[in-house]
Symmetry: C2
Subunit: 215 residues, 2 copies
């Protein structure tokens, strides 16, 4: 399958590399077509990999991942043409974290709104599914690296899109437990867990952990 990833940072590169290992074709998109990180990644990955602009990656992908920094997501999503986004599933991995005032970061949007909702409002025909934003990127694509079962949350307004994302999470990445929280407004809670995640990372001295819901 052709996958378009918006963002050439460590999240986009790690997900892209995993998708290539799984046999897919991946284009990383960035603001500028000659982005050095995108070009270097594509050179190493070989023939299944390419890089281009946000608009080109959105056009290329049958499924899209938003792996831009949260503060840059909305401006990145201004570049693709509406027709290249219509009816496509976009997996929104980003968190609206503002590091400009030092550590720990704050959220640029929270409580009464979320980044995922902003993206969904901006592109009503895009099928936005929030997922994978509550763990380190290596854990996203290698959940088996933690010891014992743990959970990934998803939410979105389109049930078929959530079915697609659930298959990607389980059949491609190996997740054993996917918890569908409901419509896209549940992204508020998923994004607002980040301050706790950051406290835990500092306390535990590692990013290799995740939440498990115990009943």
């Amino acid at each position: 399958m052709n996958i378009g990833i918006l963002g050439t940072g460590v999240v986009g590169q790690t997900i892209g590399t995993r998708l290539i290992e799984l046999g897919h074709n991946v284009m990383l998109g960035s603001r500028l077509a000659n982005n050095e990180k995108g070009r270097a990644w594509a050179r190493v990955q070989g023939s299944q990999a390419s890089h281009g602009t946000f608009a080109e990656a959105a056009k290329f992908g049958e499924i899209l991942f938003n792996c831009t920094s949260g503060m840059g997501s909305l401006s990145a999503l201004e570049f693709p043409s509406k027709s290249d986004l219509t009816n496509k599933v976009l997996i929104d991995v980003a968190n609206p974290l503002d590091f400009s005032r030092g550590m720990p970061p704050t959220l640029t949007v929270s409580n009464t709104d979320s980044l995922a909702e902003q993206i969904q409002r901006m592109h009503p025909l895009l099928r936005v599914v929030k997922a994978l934003n509550t763990m380190n990127v290596d854990v996203m694509v290698h959940p088996e690296r933690l010891h014992g079962p743990h959970d990934v949350f998803i939410c979105g307004n389109d049930d078929l899109a959530k079915n697609t994302v659930t298959e990607i999470l389980t059949d491609w990445f190996g997740w054993e437990s996917v918890i569908d929280l409901g419509d896209i407004s549940n992204a508020r809670g998923m994004e607002m867990v980040l301050p706790l995640w950051i406290s835990l990372q500092r306390k535990l001295g590692t990013a290799y952990f995740n939440f498990k819901i115990v009943k």
Copy 2:
């Protein structure tokens, strides 16, 4: 030990009842001395139980629990005299949830501040420890009712106070894993997890669950 609990709702009553079972003396405090819920609870619980005003409960307790509704916590903490709060440990269980605009509730304070920090700033000599705000009240005092290990988070500026609270959680309530996140600013993350908790409660159809950190 004499314990003062601010709040006569289900959280205050449940924690109070558990503390009485454990052999302690408990006073529930409310805005009015003749609060019907406080009086009814004390009548049922017997000689170890009493009820009074917020000021009387704060004076009575060697250790205090804040079990008021989050929107009423700051005004409740205006009643006790400063001398009755000085150097005492206050376990802040409350969440600053605003239900006035319907479900799901929003947070009255979040992201750059928290209820626990507001309380700590209001009473600098009170030793505020945020704890137990991320699970149902029955799970707070009976963690063994869930299946398998799970975690309770604490934070606060006073290490000795956190040691005291950790002993209460482990030796009194039976918690096996207490994660100290650091200073009181970590209460932001602990309180901001509530929207996810509420989504999970609706999804799972039960309040009997909790978070476990898997490494």
